[in-house]
């Protein structure tokens, strides 16, 4: 079993919160006293605190600002987070905000984390700016480690283009990120893909690490809509066509 504290960091929009949620729900099936802390101070939208009900049903404790403050544009770390870090009976997932700006919140807690069993997983999407090549990724990791005051222990491959993701794209991306991991000397922790692509590929493991099956929980309903239509790529192409050319 992996250490009881799992921290997710990554660039903006890399998919941290989705993966943190999925991990919490998975852990809840096999572990006692699972908690997830929302340290995302940076982005007031699409944060894990929005999945309150689902987490409660699975028995996962959510450590996030209460009530109306959850929607506030305020950088709040609740004091219970430190308590959970130092409580040996808790299995804790820390969902940290994007990029080095977001991970500064983790820097506040780093001295308490250091004395405990922990892993810091950095989520990487090679289809995002700044982490599409090795140099960009190396610089991002350095920035994040600088402000988090902790070292990245694992990379998580989350190759995707949102609703336009397909099997080819995931396979190519996972290979590329596995290459980054090797070049950086940081082990791969998991490969992430949506459940339907995992089924298409028929895999539960890739590059010797588990596949995390994602069911995009945080995306609002309207976000999915284009992909439910017959061919979202053609739709997009139409929208991009300059109106004056028609």
């Amino acid at each position: 079993m992996s250490p009881r504290i799992r921290i997710y960091v990554g660039a903006y929009g890399s998919g941290k919160s989705e993966i943190a949620l999925e991990t919490a729900l998975q852990w809840a099936k096999t572990r006692e006293k699972v908690a997830i802390a929302d340290l995302d101070l940076v982005n007031p939208y699409f944060r894990s605190r929005e999945s309150l009900t689902e987490l409660a049903r699975a028995g996962v404790e959510l450590l996030a600002p209460p009530g109306p403050l959850a929607g506030a544009d305020l950088p709040i770390i609740v004091p219970q987070v430190r308590g959970a870090i130092e409580d040996p009976s808790k299995h804790l997932i820390l969902d940290v905000g994007g990029d080095d700006a977001g991970s500064r919140a983790l820097g506040t807690l780093a001295p308490y984390v250091e004395g405990q069993p922990w892993e810091l997983w950095m989520v990487v999407n090679n289809y995002r700016p700044f982490t599409s090549d090795l140099e960009g990724l190396r610089a991002t990791i350095e920035r994040v480690e600088g402000s988090a005051r902790l070292k990245v222990t694992h990379l998580v491959a989350n190759p995707n283009l949102g609703p336009d993701t397909d099997r080819d794209l995931v396979e190519a991306g996972a290979a590329r990120i596995a290459g980054f991991a090797e070049a950086l000397g940081v082990p791969l922790g998991a490969v992430v893909m949506t459940a339907d692509i995992a089924d298409q590929m028929g895999v539960t493991e890739l590059y010797g690490v588990p596949v995390i099956r994602l069911s995009r929980r945080l995306a609002p309903a309207w976000y999915e809509d284009p992909s439910r239509l017959s061919d979202s790529r053609d739709r997009r192409a139409q929208l991009i066509k300059p109106p004056l050319m028609r």
Binding site: P68, L69, G71, A72
Partner: protein, 351 residues
């Protein structure tokens, strides 16, 4: 009652004082400087206070503060300055504070010019950030300006909402005889004001709502007030409309100029009338809608590039064609120019 020959700006200031306005915060900008200048002399005579603020932004936040303690308060400015006041006007609407704001319009965009204009119709009726409305009153004479300012304070208190007096530079600068009526004796509940929490729980004046549902509810509450304004506060003047086949839509000074043109056209046998919105929000939609089937063409006349015309068109839903004639930049349309437009339309209609 004694008649006084007063400049529009002075008359507006005096009307405010007589309506019980105790505080004025302003910043100099032409053509409305007579208002702060008048207030700087007058308010200290009635135990009030005047502050020349460091900016229009500050001035409008000062009225927010004075309104929060439940006092009658006013500020004034002209077009570019009004843009800066929009911040606090939105906060006043959000926190439901009664304030009166006077805009003596000049030409734009940008620094524009200081000559008369009606270029702020949009800024007045479709104001600031967030979903809200100010109640907008547009006088066409100095006497009407006086009467509307006095009403504005009651309306602001009644609805706990900003009320805007929108006038062009001519109304601000010209002199006409005026009389002042006694203010109404209406009493308004101000138990919400922050006057010190003696024998009650603390009051909070606020426009921040963290819960989306609460904010949506608050917006709905505000819009129920605007709906009530649309039912109860619409003001409009109709002139020679009974048999009119052509009608002019105009407000403020432009409407007066148009009336002279209407009179002249009538002597030529042209059946033309005038609809003059006095409240720009709520807009007198019904006054226009009523003439669907009777009026064959509407002519919207403005000292702007066609701002009010949008509301006129919405009111008649394309069931009457709406034409436009406007002058901008400080150019004031003459009665003759408007008369020419009327003649052309009359010819079109008769064909």
């Amino acid at each position: 009652m004694e008649k006084l020959l007063m400049k529009g700006s002075e008359a507006i200031a005096e009307a405010a004082v007589r309506a019980g306005c105790k505080l004025f915060f302003g910043y100099p900008i032409t053509p409305q400087n007579e208002i702060p200048e008048y207030m700087s002399k007058r308010l200290f005579q009635v135990g009030g206070a005047f502050v020349q603020a460091e900016s229009e932004v500050a001035a409008s936040n000062m009225i927010y503060g004075s309104a929060a303690v439940g006092e009658r308060v006013m500020t004034s400015s002209s077009s570019p300055g009004m843009a800066l006041k929009q911040e606090a006007i939105s906060y006043c609407a959000g926190a439901e504070l009664p304030v009166v704001i006077v805009n003596i319009m000049r030409g734009g965009p940008g620094l524009g010019g200081i000559q008369p204009s009606q270029s702020d119709y949009w800024q007045a009726t479709k104001p600031g950030h967030g979903d809200f409305h100010s109640l907008v009153l547009a006088p066409a004479s100095i006497q009407e300006a006086v009467d509307l300012v006095m009403d504005a304070f009651d309306l602001a208190d009644q609805y706990r909402n900003p009320v805007l007096i929108l006038a062009d530079g001519l109304i601000g600068q010209m002199m006409e005889p005026v009389t002042f009526r006694q203010p109404t004796e209406r009493v308004f509940d101000k138990s919400w004001a922050v006057t010190g929490c003696v024998d009650r729980k603390p009051n909070i004046v606020n426009s921040l709502f963290l819960q989306p549902q609460d904010l949506e509810d608050h917006n709905h509450k505000l819009f129920r007030k605007y709906a009530q304004m649309e039912r109860e506060e619409v003001r409009v003047e109709e002139y020679l409309m009974d048999d009119a086949e052509l009608a002019i839509a105009a407000y403020g000074t432009t409407a007066r100029i148009a009336r002279t043109a209407v009179d002249a056209a009538r002597t030529e046998g042209i059946k033309v009338g005038l609809i003059r919105p006095i409240t720009l929000f709520p807009f007198p939609k019904a006054a226009f809608e009523r003439y669907v089937g009777q009026v064959k063409v509407l002519l919207d006349v403005e000292m702007s590039m066609g701002q009010m015309i949008e509301d006129v068109r919405l009111a008649v839903h394309d069931r009457i064609p709406v034409r436009f004639y406007g002058r901008v930049g400080g150019m004031v349309p003459s009665p003759g120019e408007i008369l020419d437009q009327i003649r052309t339309l009359a010819q079109e209609v008769s064909q």
